[in-house]
Point group: C2
Amino acid sequence: MRKNDTEQIRLENRRLIINYLRVHAPIARIDIGKALNLSPATVTAITSELSKDDRIVEIPTVTDKEVIRGRPRVLIDLAPNAYFVIGLKISIGELRLTLGNHKGALVKEEIIKLQTLELSVDGLIEAIAGALHSFIAQLSGQQKPKAIGIAFQGVINGLTGEIIWSPAISGKHVNIKDRLQKIVGLPITIANDANCLTIAIRHKPKYQHLKNFSVVMLGYGVGMGMIINNELYLGHHGAAAEFGHTKHNPNGAQCLCGKRGCIEAYVGDYALYQDARSITPLPLEDHLHPSEESMEYLVSLASDNHPGLIDLLDRAGKILGFGLANIIALMSPEKIIISGPGVRAYKFLEDGIREGLESALVKELIADTTLDKVDWSEDLTVVGVVALALQSIE
Amino acid sequence: MRKNDTEQIRLENRRLIINYLRVHAPIARIDIGKALNLSPATVTAITSELSKDDRIVEIPTVTDKEVIRGRPRVLIDLAPNAYFVIGLKISIGELRLTLGNHKGALVKEEIIKLQTLELSVDGLIEAIAGALHSFIAQLSGQQKPKAIGIAFQGVINGLTGEIIWSPAISGKHVNIKDRLQKIVGLPITIANDANCLTIAIRHKPKYQHLKNFSVVMLGYGVGMGMIINNELYLGHHGAAAEFGHTKHNPNGAQCLCGKRGCIEAYVGDYALYQDARSITPLPLEDHLHPSEESMEYLVSLASDNHPGLIDLLDRAGKILGFGLANIIALMSPEKIIISGPGVRAYKFLEDGIREGLESALVKELIADTTLDKVDWSEDLTVVGVVALALQSIE
């Protein structure tokens, strides 16, 4: 949909350039034009305007190979402090607040323990509003945020912000967006954690060039995000890419969603921990919510050559690979990237994933879709929710 | 990707308007502008140009309710005979040639019996070229085609036209497009039959408004096409939407692709006929290629209350519904439309489909995705391949 109207085109091109810079900067003007199919005159006009607004800075490069015909090549980048946003991640028992700058870098963080599952909707809104107020109160005048992004585990309608179902809160079909926006006085965008992870991964230099790819997030459950034609795909009802609830086996393992045989019911942390406890002594805790420490302990036992656990993880890998075959058959993505806290066990999953995939799908359909793993050394959903908040106000 | 260049924008808007007219005409200029977000001036300029080229005609309407402020409302439509294209459908043992006019109506047809499976690639190209030449030789000067679309059963790379695998021909990874284009001297587009069906369904008034939907084609195998954001989705390697080879059951029924447990190995004609023969006498023929008559006989036995066959079709419906759950979980389409020759048994599949879907996926994820059936009273892949050929030259 486009309006053949100069002002509309200018605004759309401006938005395209800012979002392109957010992923690819620092970059030369000419390369922006090539990538977005915009004329040099358009790129120059828009970047001049952004420069006047202090949104971008110029970075002259002086290394030999960058010098073209004796003139240093000038790269442009987003000005880090042009404005700020807040990224808020809501997990079971925890609010994690982050201040992100105009370039998407995380410059401040606060973690608040909160019994999210015990709160009513009113109580949740009150607690989030209170946490945001006290976080914002500590910021300098320049750092005052212009927008807020909120990431939830679970099934979120990314179009409306409705929390359809989340393990972090009680109740289904919960709407907090409109009331929170009124209280806080800032635009709020709510997304599922796997979609935030997908946005963060898309910003990584290694994956910037991909137009169609899927991200599978292993952790408490099994989430997914999809980029289709360079855009995050949300589907008709806003909650697409629920890979964890695609099926491995009719009448299979019990899933937390209420149905049986979902991929998540074999590969999610809760499923792995429950199964592992049947074969080896593990700390006695609510197996539906195993802590990161317990999951790391489980993997450490496998690393110490516990044959039962190695086998358990290998079978989980096969089931995951079997599930990835369905993503490839339907979507034919350029790449599937596996990340999330669950990659802690990746070395035990890896062979099984490949084996499961190849047992499920003929090589003509796997074609050149490749698999990659992105480490979980930092929580990329937080990076992603900040990027989402930045995008929301362009 | 857009170029901020007046001529580029004009050409793109022209293409948008023609393709919109092909689906929605007859329509008023003002409604085209609204739908495509184009200014009235732009629509008028482009439609005047198309009118001068004899590409469109004006249709004054004089019914009472169409009269606005005393002036009859003028609708525009594509001129039927502005140019013609050929749609060619290649099935096992048959070439079906169709002449389509500028509006996409089928005006002439010829069916040629040909032992496609016994031909070498050279023999196939020769036979197709010969059939096209003699078909074109019979046409009037005005009817000479400007482009050719070819629909194949099987796995086709819709980006390059490569026939990755097709039950209609022997050999894998077969390229006929470039050589055929040279011989015939016309641009050729090759697509999978389910994608052609999807294009045809998209042109139906009932489905014109859908932006994200999937079409499942039941027949010899189980095919699929997807419209994502108003575009046919082909995926990274051009052969996405292979729903028939998504998985129902690890180590399940043997599929013709070589793997086990694919949806198609339970729901495709060949699977149904093979299973039906185990429970009731049926004409002895190659069960991997049951004829339409044999499949209709199978369904007629079910209609005569054959309990075993009713049960067999009901179970196939459940497996199909179970598979549709994966499409919905991943893609969240607005609608899934089931069509193809296999809908001959739809009344026996229908309850099972719903039951399978609801047993597989929680209602929060089914959300408002609905199912529809489109009858197979005409071969819609032929309508679609003509539409594809028309689109290919705009």
